[in-house]
């Protein structure tokens, strides 16, 4: 089984990470390998002290992600960046990504649900749906998830929460909205018996392992999710830890085989 971390964000040239110092892309992938995680997926970290515009960030992160995808073809699933302040540029990233074999765009943010961003966001989401590209979102509340889900029913949405989310809310979201997928990187997903009990009430094919590495302790988070799934059959563990992610976002860049 290849374990895929769907909420992992590689440094491109090297970033200062709290408590660990400078981390490079090699260091990032080595750490993941040491804890048994074969593949990472997520936008690269912007350079420390970044002060560029949203437009520059979209291009920088998409470029860096594609380069990392070529440098680490068997260990990294690239993502293209989008931002509602530059819908046309974002759509070009989606088109460019599609041609290169990328299957995921991100990361949406809760603030982008504001009314003044609705038109440009709809342009981006329509473009993603037209190109059959899933979209990831980092959210701060269940209410944000509901808004994303209801406003964009044609997009496959991969949600990760920076806040704690209760099992009842995960079950309700996934049951109500078949286009939602849940990345299990919210802190509460590591709490005792939360995922252990929740998984019996969830569509397993829409649960995805993720950690928020390198900010979060990847070994701890992986161990806690493994513990929570201790009573599940291997087929469920395979799906959550990698199968679902590879089905949604894997495949490798054009002209390159996936390892």
């Amino acid at each position: 089984m290849t374990i895929v971390d769907m909420d992992a964000h590689p440094p491109f040239k090297g970033n200062q990470i709290s408590y660990t110092g400078i981390m490079t892309a090699d260091g990032f992938f080595d750490r993941l390998s040491r804890v048994g995680i074969g593949v990472a997926c997520g936008l690269p970290l912007l350079p420390d002290g970044w002060q560029g515009s949203a437009e520059e960030a979209v291009v920088w992160m998409s470029d860096a992600s594609l380069k990392l995808g070529r440098e680490y073809p068997s260990r990294y699933i690239p993502v293209v960046a989008v931002h509602p302040s530059c819908p046309a540029l974002s759509c070009r990233q989606i088109e460019r990504g599609k041609q290169a074999g990328v299957r995921l765009a991100g990361e949406l943010s809760g603030e982008w649900l504001a009314d003044d961003m609705r038109a440009s966001l709809t342009t981006i989401m329509t473009c993603a749906a037209d190109h059959e590209m899933a979209v990831s979102a980092r959210l701060k509340s269940v209410e944000e998830a509901v808004q994303w889900a209801e406003r964009y029913p044609l997009n496959q949405l991969l949600l990760c929460f920076v806040c704690n989310i209760m099992p009842v809310d995960v079950v309700k979201l996934l049951s109500t909205y078949p286009h939602l997928h849940m990345i299990l990187s919210a802190p509460s997903m590591a709490w005792n018996y939360f995922l252990h009990e929740m998984i019996g009430r969830c569509p397993v094919e829409r649960l995805l392992f993720g950690t928020r590495f390198p900010h979060i302790n990847v070994a701890s988070r992986k161990a806690s999710i493994e513990w929570e799934l201790r009573d599940q059959p291997e087929s469920v563990k395979d799906a959550v830890f990698g199968g679902n992610a590879l089905r949604l976002a894997g495949g490798g860049l054009a002209g390159e085989s996936e390892g």
């Binding site: 990470i17 408590y19 209760m166 099992p167 590591a190 709490w191 701890s220 806690s224």
Partner: protein, 254 residues
């Protein structure tokens, strides 16, 4: 490796039962901890009924909770090292509870959870009186953090009291407290080590003899906090200290 001691657990904890639907019975409580490799545990009883009750209720709640901790020890034997509660609104009762515990060989107070019991300061006059008496009885006090000023005031006022503050997360104020006060340790329960590299960083700053493995189980994952040490780049000696030796030293365990 010597036996792994989880310094921070709470028997009878039911705060998340409505969220996941599982009653963590004492039997399940012990089974899960042992399945994760833990061989001894320390901590106080807490549960929803005692959380944010009216202050007068703690005059009977505290003796009852302490009695429940003793009952858990009867049930779990060597596995469980009980921690008792005290309350600054009831100095005489608290000192009597300390006296009784000490006479029974119990050497742990806490984890104290002031925010659940309607008080806020470890350095208040009544609490200093209680904790001074605890120090005379050579007890170890496990405490949920209040604020750094208050925590430092306690460490300064009672320099011989063995203090273990809960929930180390690597903040500079926490490390500074340990560097300044030899009587202060921290446990890293409840995902304190969730940030990549935190344990290694903290040990480099204050030494491995000041940090204790703890989990806040059953509220939080045991394996998460355990794995933070096991995969945290610690030497064998550091692992021994954090995962058990420090608790043994503080509590005077054989």
């Amino acid at each position: 490796m010597n036996e792994i001691i989880d310094f921070h657990v709470h028997p009878l904890y039911d705060f998340h039962q409505d969220d996941h639907g599982v009653e963590i019975s004492p039997a399940l409580f012990r089974k899960d901890l042992e399945a994760c490799g833990v061989r001894r545990i320390c901590g106080s009883v807490i549960y929803r009924e005692m959380n944010r009750s009216a202050i007068p209720n703690y005059e009977w709640l505290i003796p009852r909770m302490n009695a429940q901790a003793r009952e858990c020890r009867e049930e779990m034997g060597h596995f469980y090292i009980p921690g008792i509660h005290v309350h600054p609104a009831f100095v005489e009762m608290s000192c009597a509870e300390i006296e009784k515990a000490a006479s029974e060989g119990i050497r742990l107070i806490g984890e104290l959870v002031p925010y659940m019991m309607g008080w806020t300061s470890y350095a208040s006059a009544p609490m200093l009186e209680i904790l001074s008496y605890a120090g005379e009885k050579d007890m170890v006090v496990s405490m949920h953090p209040t604020n750094y000023g208050d925590m430092e005031a306690l460490a300064t006022a009672l320099p011989h009291l063995k203090i273990v503050y809960a929930h180390l997360s690597g903040k500079e104020e926490q490390l500074a407290l340990m560097m300044k006060h030899d009587n202060v340790c921290f446990d890293y329960s409840a995902h304190g080590a969730d940030h990549e590299g935190m344990l290694r960083y903290a040990i480099d700053r204050v030494g491995a003899d000041r940090i204790l493995f703890g989990t806040d189980y059953p509220g939080n994952s045991v394996v998460s906090d355990l794995e933070a040490a096991l995969s945290g780049g610690l030497t064998c000696g550091e692992l021994e200290a954090v995962l058990g030796m420090n608790a043994r030293r503080l509590l005077g365990l054989e």
